[in-house]
């Protein structure tokens, strides 16, 4: 016993550690380190991107000589305070599209965790057979540059003088700006009720606005209360209109007798700069077969806009708002350089869309307040 037991304990421990080794996916991870198929090549590259091992990831490319490392990193990890710089690649899916033995195409879906919520990015990657292995050919993108120029900034700006430094940022001791809910539409979606519409600042001063809704039962008691959160443009300049959307997950429309809308407004300092132009908008079907509204954003100012947020309202033939969708753009807006955007439109809504209106919110690192 006394000689047998130490060996038994040692062997049992080793066996258990080996079992744990296998269970924790080491074997699968080792397979990921190879690139004997196009699929494996894409997984190997993305696993290195996920681990932020840029040097090694860059060496895995088929066209290392053509793609600068800095450009590659900018492509997958962002730059200039864009949303991708606030993101980490949480997981990815890879599936093959085409393979002729020498070249292949794989589609990858990248799931990022970002500072504003999850972000999915679908890309088609070209993969080449080189020797015994496959390697991803990274698309070479040239960064658009504009000629040096002076951009005069002459947009309106409203400053507010508070009584003292202890005051809150919204000015409480003056009349609130006049805002009006232009439309409100309650929709039943498969998993939720959605309240959407538009709100306008009818005043001559800028307004901070927030729209909330309370669903009421037949007896008048509240079922749930939600706000528009980021599905609204919170600061509206005079006469500016913003779409809003309020979601009530897990509630059915037949439970609801009425909706109490609550639009809060207060005077805040604001600026019309930067102006972001929306061009070439059109409804399309994307590579995954989903309906999307695509377009380009152009930053008309001379400062970088770090994180743009697109908010779109869709109207039917009668001019009624039938859907509001939003999406964050993962690239920063450099002055004068168009950046593409795409926001989802539900398949059942898309055929009814007659017109749309796009509003762009933005976050600037140097002007977050």
């Amino acid at each position: 016993m006394k000689h047998f037991l130490p060996f038994l304990i040692t062997i049992a421990t080793v066996v258990l550690v080996l079992l744990g080794w296998v269970q924790s996916g080491v074997v699968a991870r080792e397979r990921m380190r190879s690139s004997r198929t196009p699929d494996e090549a894409a997984r190997l590259l993305l696993s290195q991107v996920q681990a932020r091992k840029w040097d090694f990831a860059h060496t895995l490319l088929a066209n290392t000589g053509e793609v600068e490392k800095a450009a590659f990193v900018r492509d997958v990890a962002g730059s200039n305070g864009s949303l991708l710089t606030y993101a980490s690649l949480e997981k990815f899916d890879v599936w093959p599209l085409h393979n002729n033995g020498r070249e292949a195409t794989v589609r990858v879906k990248l799931h990022y965790s970002t500072a504003v919520g999850p972000l999915d990015d679908v890309r088609d990657l070209q993969v080449e057979h080189q020797g015994e292995t496959w390697r991803v050919r990274w698309p070479t993108t040239t960064i658009a540059k504009v000629a040096p120029q002076v951009i005069p900034v002459n947009y309106l700006r409203w400053d507010v003088i508070n009584r003292n430094a202890e005051d809150d940022w919204g000015v409480q001791n003056v009349d609130s700006p006049q805002v009006r809910i232009l439309s409100m539409n309650a929709l039943q979606r498969p998993d939720r009720i959605v309240i959407l519409g538009e709100i306008v600042n009818e005043d001559t001063i800028p307004a901070y606005i927030n729209v909330g809704a309370t669903l009421l039962r037949p007896d008048g008691s509240p079922i749930a209360q939600e706000t528009s959160f980021d599905k609204i443009s919170h600061v509206l300049l005079p006469k500016q209109v913003s779409p809003y959307r309020i979601d009530f997950p897990g509630i059915k429309l037949d439970q609801v007798k009425s909706v109490r809308m609550d639009a809060k407004a207060m005077l805040v300092p604001a600026s019309a700069d930067p102006v972001i132009e929306v061009n070439r908008q059109k409804l399309e079907t994307d590579a995954l077969g989903k309906k999307v509204l695509r377009g380009d954003l152009v930053n008309q100012s001379g400062q970088i806009v770090n994180i743009p947020h697109v908010l779109a309202a869709y109207y039917d033939a009668n001019g009624k708002v039938i859907w509001v969708s939003d999406g964050y753009v993962d690239q920063e807006l450099q002055p004068q350089i168009p950046v593409a955007f795409a926001v989802d439109v539900p398949d059942d809504v898309a055929p009814k869309v007659h017109n749309y209106h796009v509003v762009v919110n933005h976050y600037d690192i140097n002007n977050a307040s």
Binding site: V17, G20, A115, W169, D230
Partner: protein, 581 residues
């Protein structure tokens, strides 16, 4: 009678002095408050007891939570001492008492298995144990550190009662067990298996001639039943809370559950640092533990604790704990494994000192000191840094002025500095650092821990923050303090505005204007007044009774026992057996 210093046991008083000399200065510097993860959490709990002894409902976190979800004794003693020396110093004092009690506990526990001399070495090593330094200065697990020695102190009485029906042992053992459970129930639950079963086994081996194993087992079961009933009554509000709201939240990832072999930092943090030089002794622990029949129960206890301490490195914890695997953290088992190994390590030290004298003394001392030095050094070298040292004075000052405490607040990027804010600010938060007490759906529906550290939990964390911010008006959540610009875009898009900046821009305050003042959030988790009364009296009473029994019913001095030489030449030898008067 041996005359050489190296052949005599180290006096217990000297070991206590050693513990005071080694840990006293570190704790006087209040090191855990700036280096550990949980020290500020314990101070936060204690602060509540200092102000509301009989009301365990604490509104400062999670829009209200019950402190009956965590055994109170350690916190209550901090609260008592805080009336004299202040909260921070009281924490250090209680932690120091725990470290000293641990050395005494190891000594008394080791005496069950090995000679007085080997036990004294085991106790001395416990002062330098990497796992102790890790739990005190890095993890800040005061409750584990205080409950483990109480439990170790109870075990010899449990042994005496089980083996020879010693009534005094029954009484003292039970009271100590109740006190240990009042500090940390989890240590008691796992200790029952890892420590108590080997002791019962030993009592069976050591039973008096003519006594049956059944009698020993019957007495052990009696002890367990009475102890269980006592724990049930003393911690009744806890059981009510846990039955009413079982932990059903989505599991939160923890590094101690991972396969340590896949990450060198985790391996260092959860294996090399806690075990230190003990790793070199592990083959001997197995060898010596196997060689003697009396040490085998201890060896098995050690082995199981060792496997548990490896977390997800082996599948054993997952097999044993099932779903609870995703709730538990496994660093505490490393302490258990080390404590269970110490008696055998003491024996090894005894043998080395007999053979190599001064050389062995120098070597063993160096190994012990290096173990602790590495654990302390790891506080600086480790890639896992806490934010417990963050200066939150300006945040507290903001919340305590101009009626800002009428609203709730949230911190983002504050890590474990959050309890520091909560302890000294009058305002309440929707967040909190104690995961088991979370009942708000915005937190339990996502696999994320504290909102303040949301980004480290990826999408789950950020979705949890988003859900909370969406319901800001409902909770009166007006102020958000940001110590990491990562969180600023979400706040900006959701309508918050930056209003103040502190510490050269490292901390910013954001507010939202249309938020109404906070109102109490109704909760069925609020304990009844009688539960508060029970909570405020029984746990503390158990510890006072334990102190009284220790003073009024002193233990008999144990007679010198037979000790066999190491290594045992052949056959089953007895290393130590108690001789009773």
């Amino acid at each position: 009678m041996e005359t050489g210093y190296l052949r005599r046991p180290i006096p217990l008083a000297a070991i206590v002095l050693l513990a005071l000399v080694v840990h006293g200065p570190l704790l006087t510097m209040q090191l855990p408050l700036t280096t550990s993860y949980d020290a500020n959490l314990h101070i936060f709990f204690a602060s509540h007891y200092a102000h509301h002894w009989f009301d365990p409902w604490n509104e400062k976190w999670f829009a209200g939570f019950s402190q009956t979800t965590y055994p109170p004794l350690g916190h209550q003693w901090i609260a008592i001492f805080s009336y004299i020396v202040g909260l921070r110093e009281a924490y250090a004092l209680v932690q120091l008492i725990a470290v000293v009690l641990l050395a005494i506990g190891v000594y008394r526990f080791s005496r069950l298995w090995v000679s007085e001399r080997a036990s004294s070495y085991a106790a001395a090593f416990s002062v330098f144990l990497g796992a102790v330094a890790f739990l005190v200065y890095s993890a800040g697990q005061l409750s584990t550190m205080l409950s483990a020695p109480l439990y170790l102190l109870a075990l010899p009485y449990f042994y005496d009662w089980s083996r020879s029906a010693d009534g005094k042992g029954l009484l003292k053992g039970l009271v100590l067990i109740w006190a240990a459970a009042s500090v940390h129930h989890v240590t008691l639950i796992f200790g029952s298996v890892l420590f108590a079963l080997p002791v019962v086994w030993l009592a069976c081996i050591d039973r008096h001639e003519g006594r049956s194993v059944a009698a020993v087992l019957t007495r052990a079961i009696m002890f367990a039943v009475v102890a269980g009933i006592g724990v049930g009554v003393i911690l009744l509000p806890y059981w009510i809370a846990i039955i009413r709201h079982p932990i059903e939240q989505i599991p939160i990832p923890h590094a101690s559950r991972s396969n340590l072999l896949l990450n060198l930092n985790y391996l260092t943090n959860y294996f090399f640092v806690p075990y230190g030089a003990l790793i070199l002794a592990l083959p001997f622990v197995i060898w010596i533990g196997s060689a003697n029949r009396r040490l085998r129960p201890l060896l098995f206890g050690f082995w199981v604790a060792f496997l548990f301490g490896l977390g997800g490195t082996t599948p054993v914890p997952k097999w044993i704990f099932g779903r609870a695997f995703e709730i538990l953290t496994f660093e505490r088992f490393t302490l258990s494994a080390a404590l269970l190994a110490l008696p055998i390590v003491g024996l090894l030290a005894e043998s080395l000192l007999d053979r190599y004298r001064a050389v062995a003394a120098v070597g063993l001392s160096a190994a012990a000191a290096a173990t602790m030095a590495i654990a302390m050094g790891w506080l600086a070298w480790s890639p896992f840094h806490t934010l417990s040292g963050l200066n939150v004075d300006s945040v507290v000052e903001f919340l305590n002025r101009n009626g800002h405490d009428r609203y709730r607040y949230l911190t983002l990027g504050f890590g474990n500095a959050l309890p520091k804010v909560s302890t000294y600010a009058n305002a309440n938060s929707v967040d909190g650092e104690y995961n088991s007490a979370r009942l708000l759906p915005e937190m339990t529906h996502y696999g994320s821990a504290q909102l303040t550290s949301a980004k480290f939990f990826g999408t789950a964390g950020m979705e949890s923050v988003r859900a909370m911010l969406k319901h800001a008006n409902n909770y009166g959540l007006k102020y958000v303090f940001v110590h990491d610009p990562y969180y600023e875009p979400m706040l900006a898009f959701a309508g918050w505005r930056k209003i103040e900046t502190y510490d050269s821009g490292t901390v910013t305050v954001w507010s939202k204007e249309d938020v109404p003042p906070a109102r109490p959030i109704q909760s069925d988790a609020m304990p009844a007044p009688w539960e508060g009364l029970l909570w405020g009296t029984l746990p503390l009473g158990s510890s006072i009774l334990a102190i009284l029994l220790a003073l009024l019913l002193p233990d008999r001095v144990r007679a010198t026992e037979r000790v066999v030489e190491f290594p045992a030449p052949a056959g089953e030898r007895v290393y130590a057996r108690e001789a009773r008067g």
